[in-house]
């Protein structure tokens, strides 16, 4: 009998995430991939500053938490010293695409052999719903109260598209966790991103479109719809780079 159940790579702790938050799904997928690849005992994860900051309490492997936006730099330090270990970062859109822009781009361009899980929920979750670099045009947040784009905020930043121009990058895919099919695709992508690292192929990043019902001020159902209708349009899913 095959049982779908909580993997041991997750600790028993209940997460602090809000009901319906996409972080929970993404956590499970990363944990299952680590389990399936049998790499728990050589994995070092880096939590971001963002809602996922406490993920060190949720993962049953060595973990660290790093200054806001700097996980790729910290990962570089760890991986360069321990090339035989598996190093991943898990970052939000504020972390990875605002304050951490330089660290993201340069780790990617150096082709650091790490895996980056990028949770794009189009908002600053942890700090209570401010505009993120990925907030959609017209979308309201506590710091874009007239809707993004009305006061020179520019359009949402597309990270996969941006990074795809870098020769150093190995693999980029954008997925979602807003339907079972997307969840399956996300897991496949995450697995590939870890496998690439095992195979020494270099920088892999999976961008996951994810729900933040709380700061979007939407119900679970509305949040899922928002990802499926609005976010997927602004951020088309797919593989943006695959060096194979």
């Amino acid at each position: 009998m095959l049982t779908l159940k909580r993997t041991d790579v997750l600790t028993d702790a209940c997460t602090h995430y809000c009901p319906g938050c996409g972080h929970g799904i993404a956590h499970r997928l990363v944990a299952e991939v680590i389990e399936e690849l049998g790499i728990r005992e050589k994995t070092i994860g880096i939590a971001p500053v963002g809602c996922a900051v406490l993920m060190y309490d949720y993962f049953n492997c060595d973990m660290t938490e790093c200054a806001h936006g700097r996980p790729p730099a910290m990962a570089t330090g760890i991986k360069r010293i321990q090339p035989d270990k598996i190093v991943f970062t898990y970052q939000g859109d504020g972390d990875l695409a605002a304050i951490g822009t330089a660290e993201t781009i340069h780790a990617a361009n150096r082709g650091e052999n790490i895996t980056v899980i990028f949770i794009n929920n189009a908002i600053y979750g942890m700090t209570g719903g401010q505009m993120a670099p990925t907030t959609l045009t017209g979308m309201r947040s506590t710091t874009s109260q007239d809707g993004r784009g009305e006061h020179g905020e520019g359009p949402p930043l597309k990270v996969c598209e941006l990074l795809s121009t870098l020769d150093g990058v190995c693999y980029l895919e954008r997925t979602a966790v807003s339907t079972p099919k997307d969840v399956i695709a996300t897991k496949r992508a995450i697995k590939k991103a870890f496998q690439n690292q095992i195979d020494g192929k270099g920088f892999s990043l999976v961008e996951v479109l994810s729900m933040c019902p709380t700061d979007w001020k939407l119900s679970t159902v509305q949040s899922v719809d928002f990802v499926n209708n609005e976010m997927k349009e602004a951020f088309p899913l797919g593989v943006y780079k695959d060096k194979g």
């Binding site: 406490l54 060190y56 660290t64 938490e65 730099a73 330090g77 360069r80 010293i81």
Partner: protein, 362 residues
């Protein structure tokens, strides 16, 4: 005694680091410390170490954060503006209690300033330019041989106390070349096992390196109390100080680093002129050797603080002396360099003034 070789201060520091087993360096160019990344970029691969030219000072300090969590001896280096950028990272590393060496080859400020030597980052280094109640061990060598020796020690102290150490150098100390004896590394303390390292949880429970402490509500208070206890311990064990001719000195110069070196010359000149001058030179700026200063204040009539800044170090001198002895000041920032002559002049004027006062008192 081994053979002496001629190296720049910046290179001396690098070679000492390599000798002490430093195997990770991340940095970003900035004058007057460029010899450091340049030397390390060449030297690290030779010893199977890692050199990374980071995209910024911020990335560099966070790479060091990661390397240190991996258990390797590691280091970054910059000069004043770049060190300002590292303050958040330094606060994190100190909070996480990880060892590393950070070198600041100080230049003139504020802002972009210039590239002449300066000592105006004293407050930043010693009081903490980052946020929160943390401390960094701060070393202030006054010769290249001392740079060499202290750099090796720095890695030991960093490991022993699980704390970042800062080498507070300056443009002159970094750029000048002087013959140095390249001694082999010997640890000066019994080094504890690094049981905090993140290297995969094989055969053990997973570990976490972090600075966020949310639970229990007073968890961070407890963590801070723990840090403070450690800092007290460092204070009691590590305050280093050199005294020169202080025993009978009426005027004692307080100075550190390159300034102390010049001040020593001034003391020599003063003694030749029959003036009872001496020098007290902290080698560790934090912990500050307050007791030695308090002792000196008991016998000296006046203390003269000399620094290449507008009065930073003097605050620690005053705090140590606590009003028991008058403390005069000589110093400027922005690339002003003291000479033996200028210091001597100041000593002479202090002597003259005190004689006048003495007369006035009659």
């Amino acid at each position: 005694m081994g053979k002496k070789i001629l190296l720049k201060g910046n290179e001396v520091m690098c070679e000492a680091a390599v000798q002490a087993g430093c195997r990770f360096f991340a940095g970003y160019p900035i004058t007057p410390q460029n010899e450091v990344p340049e030397y390390m970029s060449k030297r690290m691969p030779q010893v199977s170490g890692v050199f990374v030219q980071a995209e910024s000072e911020i990335a560099a300090i966070n790479m060091v954060f990661g390397a240190s969590a991996s258990g390797v001896r590691c280091m970054t280096s910059s000069s004043s503006p770049g060190i300002s950028l590292k303050q958040e990272g330094i606060s994190y590393i100190a909070g996480a209690e990880l060892p590393c060496l950070i070198a600041n080859v100080q230049r003139g400020g504020p802002g972009l300033g210039n590239i002449r030597a300066s000592q105006a980052d004293y407050f930043q280094a010693v009081k903490g330019g980052g946020h929160g109640d943390y401390r960094v061990i701060v070393l202030a060598p006054a010769s290249l041989q001392e740079i060499y020796n202290l750099t090796m020690n720095a890695f030991d102290w960093a490991d022993y106390y699980r704390n970042p150490v800062m080498m507070l150098s300056d443009g002159i100390s970094g750029q000048m070349a002087e013959p140095v004896e390249i001694l082999p590394y010997k640890p000066i303390v019994d080094l504890p096992a690094k049981d905090y390292i993140l290297d995969g949880c094989k055969g053990r429970k997973p570990r976490v390196v972090k600075t966020l402490v949310l639970r229990p509500t007073d968890g961070l208070v407890t963590h801070n109390e723990h840090l403070q206890e450690k800092y007290k311990c460092i204070e009691s064990e590590l305050s280093l100080c050199e005294e020169y001719e202080t025993a009978d000195a009426e005027i004692v110069i307080a100075a550190y680093g390159i300034t102390a070196r010049i001040a020593k010359g001034a003391v020599r000149l003063a003694r030749k002129k029959g003036l009872a001058a001496g020098l007290i030179r902290p080698i560790t700026l934090w912990p500050f050797p307050s007791d030695a200063f308090a002792d000196v204040a008991e016998t000296a009539r006046q203390i003269l603080t000399v620094e290449m800044s507008h009065g930073q170090f003097i605050e620690d001198v005053k705090l140590a002396v606590n009003g028991t002895c008058p403390v005069e000041f000589l110093g400027k920032g922005g690339g002003w360099y003291p000479t033996e002559e200028i210091i001597l002049e100041k000593i002479e004027s202090m002597v003259a003034a005190s004689v006048t006062t003495a007369k006035g008192e009659l």
